[in-house]
Symmetry: C2
Subunit: 423 residues, 2 copies
């Protein structure tokens, strides 16, 4: 272990050791004890709007002075309404089932040993994210409910706000007799703190990066701690020739327009050439009426003159805005090939009434979620019935797709014998 | 993706792209097709002992000339008997249930969408291991059955043997109409091949290192590809004061002596001071009669004069031989503290008749497998009923403890709608 520790500063080491110690307490708490702590945290947020808003206003001033974009500023901003929602989000976690202690599987061995695999907390979860002070409280609540200690690096822009919310959470934890180190921020260590967190193998059990593709990529590449990747969504819908046209217009519109800033929204429409001349203009006019700017390949441009020209880069981009691309394809094989090339393996949907085509699409597309005749916006922990969502994993290890509380746990095998030895 | 590829040589890139293409075929095969391929591989090994033994003899000569240890030489050696066992191991995989296509969970959403989570292959699995030519065939068979393409780096010492077995497997695959690139070796790329494999994020979905602690550590630290860590076992048994003495003697003997060279064998005995004077001499004499060399702390040495003096390093060592350490502890808390300090989180066992002590041990020890009144040798895929074992994971992400075929798969969410949009 010692070689691994060389990069960790004494300041971080103290926090990580405190987190480990706290995690040992959290791991053996009853659901009722954890819910009591969550209630105390929600109450603390409700009772301290003034303190939080004051710190947030200072962060906002600095951010504005530094020229932060309006989109980023909006994410950084707390309002009384947002704080009420935040407290409510913590209370919502109370009603979620506790994943810890759930027996995943088990049986008796032929020799009489009782074997069971039980969900246990990871231990210490690290989170690296950007300028979203609500994430500080959201992740802390989810970690707490799943019995994990949280070490948070929330970005310099929100440092003042995070300091206050973490202090409030720590006081709340203390008030119900739990270790304050259950939730800690390392924002004060700056960028170096994030780098060290990625090197803290043996102290941090899992690292969850949330934010831009750049941030996630950097963590995925550099981290020595196992990472759960919540990746970008370059999401496709392929409209096959047998699709219901009215449905197609509505689903494409919904997938793009209902909330364009999220990862499950549509980025590229692939449409079969046999129906493109009739259907594409209908889709385009519905999208344009909703303010969507479209680019297309040459065939799409020929059919719809309003379309700009789509480049390779356009097809590879997660816009998170009302921009999207269109490509006319010769059939399912070409659609699959395009998806293979540009997909981030998040969500892909086919619109069709042909069973053979649907089944081939479901079997061959390599993505966390594959759909037939549904809007890609359904890739969501809430929609899937998980209650809360930790993020949407685009990796294949451990968790894939929307993650709920059980995805914040590991397992432990319990072997109960009565003197058995192996022969 | 392009930035990630810069380190990959053209030779490796060709193989990885072929592996990806093969994985797309493997992912949609029926169980019968995969079993037919496994049968062909087993037959090819049975029919070609001469070829394989000839190549192996050359590898053995080179290894002996280079001064390889006798233990390593033994692992490198094939014999007709070992080849027959190897073919049988491949046939055993045929009888294992196919994990692909298993529905893990599912339900209908309130809006009528049918939701299911289904097991799918990872895609391409990389394996890095050392001088064990049997692993080449074992891993290839397990990957094939779970629908994954395998890219194998088996170490220079076994290169000649691996070349022959991989060629035989590729011919067998071809004979049943499957892509030869389903199983490939990159031994010819040398150490650089292993380094590049670790950088092949986007091409290799999971990397499994097998071998020494050093090798596994290097992969875990350097790899940008997600790793499943099959780690070392510094395994403890704590004999609590209420333990059955006869059972304790037998369990400790079994855990240490039955197969000392494997990761689930005992390394350190912790014994309560209240029973040590009576029980420890009995345990020690039973172990010494079996050829075990023991070291102990001062208290243990006082009770058993034959014991050497155990250092910190002894307590941290996975001996894989008939050496072990003993420590006399004041009770469960001290035992837990010692385990926390030295455990590699593989397997830990308590021997006791006290429920409170047993439950506290099960709850507080952080390990893949925790036991009461059983030999640590039971941490094993075969014993757990998995049929074959891919290895024993000591990480908390994705798989923990003995891994079977399902642990070589990921999942995919399938959403079957009928025109649903999100409101």
């Amino acid at each position: 272990m010692s070689a691994l520790n060389t990069q960790l500063s004494p300041e971080l080491l103290i926090k990580l050791e405190a987190a480990q110690e706290a995690s040992r307490v959290l791991g053996t708490l009853s659901t009722a004890q954890k819910n009591k702590a969550l209630e105390a945290i929600a109450d603390a947020i409700d009772a301290n709007h003034g303190l939080i808003l004051e710190a947030n206003a200072l962060d906002m001033d600095k951010a504005e002075a530094s020229g932060m974009s309006s989109g980023m500023l909006d994410r950084l901003r707390f309002t009384p309404e947002r704080l009420s929602s935040l407290a409510q989000a913590v209370r919502d976690v109370i009603s979620l089932p506790d994943p810890v202690g759930v027996v995943v599987r088990g049986n008796d061995m032929p020799n009489g040993i009782h074997l069971s695999q039980v969900r246990v907390p990871f231990g210490v979860i690290g989170a690296i994210y950007e300028a979203r002070p609500n994430v500080t409280v959201d992740i802390a609540a989810l970690c707490l409910k799943s019995g994990n200690a949280a070490v948070l690096r929330g970005g310099t822009a929100a440092e003042g706000t995070n300091t206050v919310t973490v202090e409030l959470m720590q006081s709340a934890l203390k008030s119900v007799g739990l270790p304050q180190a259950s939730v800690q921020t390392i924002d004060e260590l700056g960028r170096e703190g994030a780098t060290q967190l990625m090197a803290a193998r043996g102290f941090v059990d899992v690292l969850i990066p949330r934010g831009s593709a750049n941030l996630i990529n950097a963590v995925v590449q550099e981290s020595k701690v196992p990472v759960i990747e919540t990746g970008a969504g370059v999401v496709h819908i392929y409209v096959e020739e047998s699709a219901d046209f009215d449905q197609a217009v509505e689903i494409v519109h919904n997938a793009k327009v209902q909330r364009p800033s999220v990862c499950n929204s549509l980025e590229t429409l692939l449409i079969d050439e046999k129906i493109a001349s009739e259907l594409l203009p209908r889709i385009v006019s519905r999208l344009e009426a909703a303010g969507v700017t479209l680019k297309g390949d040459t065939s799409a441009q020929t059919l719809c003159s309003s379309l700009g020209s789509a480049t390779d880069e356009d097809f590879a981009t997660e816009h998170m805005s009302l921009e999207m691309s269109v490509k006319v394809v010769a059939g399912l094989s070409e659609a699959l090939e395009h998806i293979r090339k540009y997909s981030t393996k998040h969500t892909e949907s086919i619109l069709t009434n042909n069973i053979t085509q649907a089944e081939r699409f479901l079997a061959e597309v390599d993505a966390a979620v594959v759909m037939v005749n549904a809007s890609t916006r359904f890739t969501d922990g809430g929609e899937f019935g998980f209650g809360a969502e930790v993020g949407i994993s685009t990796q294949k290890l451990h968790a894939r797709g929307p993650m709920g509380l059980p995805e914040l746990t590991s397992t432990k095998w319990i072997v109960r014998g009565s003197g058995q030895i192996r022969h």
